[in-house]
Symmetry: C2
Subunit: 215 residues, 2 copies
Amino acid sequence: MNKIRVAIFDDNALLRDSISLLIGDTDNLELVGSFPNCKQLKDNITDSNPHVVVMDIDMPGINGIEGVVLIRKFFPDIHILMQTVFDDDDRIFAALKAGASGYILKNAGSAKLLDAIVEVHNGGAPMSPSVAKKVLNQFQSGKPDSEEDFNLSAREREVLGLLVKGKSYKMIADELCISYDTVRAHMKKIYEKLHVSSMTEAVAKAINKNIFGFF
Amino acid sequence: MNKIRVAIFDDNALLRDSISLLIGDTDNLELVGSFPNCKQLKDNITDSNPHVVVMDIDMPGINGIEGVVLIRKFFPDIHILMQTVFDDDDRIFAALKAGASGYILKNAGSAKLLDAIVEVHNGGAPMSPSVAKKVLNQFQSGKPDSEEDFNLSAREREVLGLLVKGKSYKMIADELCISYDTVRAHMKKIYEKLHVSSMTEAVAKAINKNIFGFF
DNA sequence: CAGGCAATACCCGAAAAGGTGTATATTTTG
DNA sequence: CAAAATATACACCTTTTCGGGTATTGCCTG
């Protein structure tokens, strides 16, 4: 029986090494390449000719999602398993949209990693329920994404919009010709409605729930 | 000669009214509908049967960009002119990608608005040079967007990533198991490299220059 | 091996943001 | 019409962030 040929892309050398050892100890898997970035991705893959690529989602230079795009473009038969440190639904979803077959958390344990590699090679799609639901929703209706309604007033949306563009309270006050304290009053309401408690959380939520759509 | 049939979607009643008056005073234009949101978009357009739709980019419920998508889907022959308060390249670009024909700033003056309506009806595409350049770039090379390199180190990217997810310095310190002051040290470097000076600016830039891609 | 850079960590003072409370006029809505 | 929501504004106080420094460790490169 032929071994599953596996290649790894991850900027963390330690993690690459430990996966190497892990795969070396498993007799139905074979590590054919281990790379710290996607700069030579095309050559790397041509040379190592893997069945499965294990790809870190966060990498300097070309990131993992862009890596997925490239692999899909040049090697459409290769299955890609994403690895992430955090369970970041949106990024994982993006990776899947780009053509990854599944994903696994970096702290999931070695047995699970090996299982996931075998699973993607067999055409499976290891992923968490929350991501699976997103994928399902996308398939069911061509809609962009969950359109949660936060009941923001027009003014609140305006303030949030400026926030998302990186403005400070003071700048927002100037831009809207209202007092600093009024901006704060709006912010309080916005935080309440979005269930957050800081500018950055609000910005992150505004983007991920695409309150303004299309970033 | 037939008048150009125009419909307006804007949540600002005052602005709707002033545009109504404006169009009423112009003899080659005819206002056939004026709506505060896109909830009944399909019926509204079927009933009013416009040649040109003037659409606010920011609206509660279904936003202007989603509105564009819907119009393109059901009424592919209608030309859409976007209206925005701010010259937000990214959103405008998104609207154009979604199928809008052009855009105009809300404070551009009535004469320009009328010109723009006529222009889109005649197949033109009124837009600012900076947006035009983006569109051109997109056409010239299938690349996602400007891929500026900010020379962030792996650690800095990691910190910025957590920032974008809405974390505070303290949370980042905990998550990365480093001291609060080290997070600050990284932040200083990040701000320097991105040429910004606040968390929200950094988040905004990280997203708009898609340092992490795919939001 | 010397110099540069990344990562770590600490200090200080100033500025910004956040939490809570109060208040008033207007608009919307049941 | 009365109640609720919105937009405006101020006060007081705490926490967080920002902009300067300074310093050590380790790694990579010329």
